[in-house]
């Protein structure tokens, strides 16, 4: 069953809206069983949610900016980086936090409506946290590919001839 679970997860990861009947036919598992597998995977926290990848730059009258911030911190005895990470990820502006190897410790992804808003978050909230030593903010200028999906791709454009041997 595990192999089928992986297949199921990969299908859902690619398209969260794929329906049970289609999955059932594709992985050759009865529809009821597919539902049961999904319920189990949700219970086991293998599936955390079903989000939609929106290209906001194609949405008229929506303004938004995103930044990646390299954060250096002082780890705390006993809890390492986890404590400071949890203080950072609770801010709703923060979309992602990763502990990194290399020149800095935490990579923090932040989204806001304007550059001012993000700057204010960094200067007032993030850099004033006790154990934060330094921050380097990189504003994202353009997204080319996100979560495996190429933005503004003409993928649907089938370049093949209509009928061939």
């Amino acid at each position: 069953m595990e192999q089928k679970e992986i297949e199921l997860l990969k299908l859902l990861e690619k398209n969260g809206r794929i329906d049970t009947n289609t999955i059932s036919k594709m992985i050759d598992v009865e529809p009821d069983k597919v539902e049961e597998m999904i319920a189990n995977l949700e219970k086991e926290h293998a599936i955390l949610g079903y989000s939609t990848l929106v290209d906001w730059s194609n949405v008229y009258e929506y303004e938004g900016v995103a930044a990646l911030i390299d954060v250096k911190v002082t780890p705390v005895r006993g809890v390492g980086f986890d404590k400071i990470a949890s203080r950072i990820y609770r801010f709703p502006e923060v979309k992602a936090v990763y502990l990194m190897s290399g020149a800095y410790d935490l990579s923090v992804s932040v989204e806001g409506k304007t550059m001012m808003e993000v700057s204010r978050f960094v200067s007032e909230k993030l850099s004033t946290l006790d154990t934060v030593i330094s921050t380097t903010t990189h504003f994202i200028l353009k997204k080319y590919k996100h979560d495996g999906i190429i933005l503004n791709d003409d993928e649907d454009n089938d370049k093949r001839i209509m009928v061939s041997p």
Binding site: E7, L11, I18, T22, K25, M26, I27, D28, D158, R160, I161, M162, V163, S164, P165
Partner: protein, 388 residues
Amino acid sequence: MSSYYLSQQVQEIKPSGIRKFFDLASKMENVISLGVGEPDFVTPWSVIEASYHSLEQGYTAYTANAGLFELREEISYYLENNFDVTYSPESQILVTVGGSQAIDLSLRAIIDPGDEVIIVEPCFVAYSPIVSLAGGVPVTVSATNDNAFKITAEQIEQAITKRTKAIILCSPNNPTGAVLSKEDLTSIAAVVRKHDLLVISDEIYAELSYDDKAPSVASINGMKERTIVVTGFSKAFAMTGWRLGYTVGPEKIIQAMLKIHQYTMMCAPTMAQHGALEALRNGSESVQEMKTSYRQRRNFVVKALNEMGLSCHLPGGAFYVFPSIKATGMSSEEFAQRLLEEERVAVVPGDVFGESGEGYIRCSYATSIKQLDQAMKRMSRFVEKYTK
């Protein structure tokens, strides 16, 4: 001159029945095509990038007639690792312009005027015309639905005459998707050896088998010395437009094919050969991903077709399903034409692949699941309308 100077031979060859559907379908809008005989994937990026790089480096000249030696070496490793057959890159491997050129060369190398070549139908539309153009006589035998479109040794034996020189096999098969097992091939091999024939084995879909591995004819005991394997990069690596294939076989035959190749083609395109090198070195992961996707789509389409009353086997390989449309009482051509006109779904009528394909249609599932889902809904509506 009424014949416009054309040779008798060429005039006698009928144009492919696929052409007609192409002309019809390409004039319409909003058509979902299940008629495409090639992958829906774009070639893996690393292959494209390697080919770019070779051009940037100025590799724009001819290669050796037989193809880049490095590529022949990689082909040799690949075949040994994946299909248990060993061929020398020096003398038994020839890189060609697609699998099609390999088929043409193999037939031209072995046929004397009037020699018979057994062709198993339903099959790829080009075998019979290529045999004729080479001066041979195509003799067809029919694989049938009763045996899941697998030809038997007995059927082949019945078609053998004193003039029979070779038999063309294709597994996994276009258009039926049927895969010949090791046992099937062993019994066919016994007949081939008994009558001292050659096999031209079209293994272009060999990587694309979803349940059991499709064995190479050359890997069957005693068959390597009488088998010409023709294959290429088109299907497994999604490289149809690169036109790159290859053939392996007994040294004497490959050298004879090379002789024709050097006078008629010189060599396969150099930039494509550099791409193929990358495909063999680092492409297997991409192939596996594409295979998983084909398998899932195969399962989907086979279930959907059977549910709507177009019965079909679960084909072991390639990316085609070959369902029966007999329940509708229509001929293959009528079914395909009306389906296209009424529901805007293009399929290929089975009879273009040979007489025994009558009563069937070929549906290619190398199309996105979204399109397949839509196509199945349209077809189901169509079938319901005509089977009451």
